[in-house]
Symmetry: C2
Amino acid sequence: MSNPIDFYFDFSSPYGYFGAVEIGKLAAKYGRQVNWHPILLGPIFKNIGTNSLVTIPVKGEYSRHDMGRTARFHNIFFKEPSNFPIGTQVAARAALWVQEQQPAKAVDFIQTIYSAYFTEDIDISVPASVLRIAGDLGIDHAALEAALGTQEIKDKLRQATEDAMQKGVFGSPFVIVDGEPFWGFDRFTQLEAFLKNGKI
Amino acid sequence: MSNPIDFYFDFSSPYGYFGAVEIGKLAAKYGRQVNWHPILLGPIFKNIGTNSLVTIPVKGEYSRHDMGRTARFHNIFFKEPSNFPIGTQVAARAALWVQEQQPAKAVDFIQTIYSAYFTEDIDISVPASVLRIAGDLGIDHAALEAALGTQEIKDKLRQATEDAMQKGVFGSPFVIVDGEPFWGFDRFTQLEAFLKNGKI
């Protein structure tokens, strides 16, 4: 049995969204499973002393242009959210809870949260939006709402982000498979070559 | 007549080197000329408040790994230089001078400087190395040596870097064609689609 693909992402990352759209197909094509890891880029950026691309002058304008172009190039439906970037603690904590409590719905939940934000302009930093999406998918949103207020789920996300950092993750999307790291959606062509040939 | 492709690069940039290997073929395929723009990333990074990838913890280690892998993936000969990154003022000034004084040899000079650094581990921050390469290509290296000491050539490179910044250039390689900007060697697939279809 092949090792799973570890896929790290922040819900505020458009390239993470593109990756989330494609990673499942890619994994299936090469007989791999995907471990989905919601993390927060904020503490990671702080730790290595860098910033979100979009907050850097000039680079930010370019990257907003690049997002839309990259989506068109890959035929991925995309609409830049009005509120961007956003805090994704609630969405990430919710994803961790769904992974633990209703694992069969976790991938669907993650992808629906992503597409709500990046195709429907739904502000997923608002807890009510996240809970409504959960409810629509038949997830126990009352239990989820209660869990979101606990220290336990906050600690879990903090730990998940720290674990990712320990593994060398510093961006979104970030993929590790068979010990090989790939940063960015634009490395998915190399990732595919690696999955196909076992090396590059 | 189609507009030329503006290709901006810093001689210390491995992805700029990969771009320099490929841009000529790509341009020829779609009936375009290339305007080669040697620039310095240092002042640009300072201006926008960012840093060279390789100086950032974790990201630096990853990017060193990524360089070699990207070279292999694209079948580009590459050897990480012992001294990296380096100051590229001398090489960039020399390239500007050759472009003006012996334009027929300029592309060859630029590509030879790049491959000396990234395939033969020749330290092109050393003026003698740059002058020897010029001499090997039949460029008047005595006149070049004299020119490298002048304020005029220093001003010219400063101006070239400022002009690039004005056009929104903030990395290497950076391509602008028909007003469309492409940052990074990993955008060459999108660049090719743009050259082919006139849009993305």
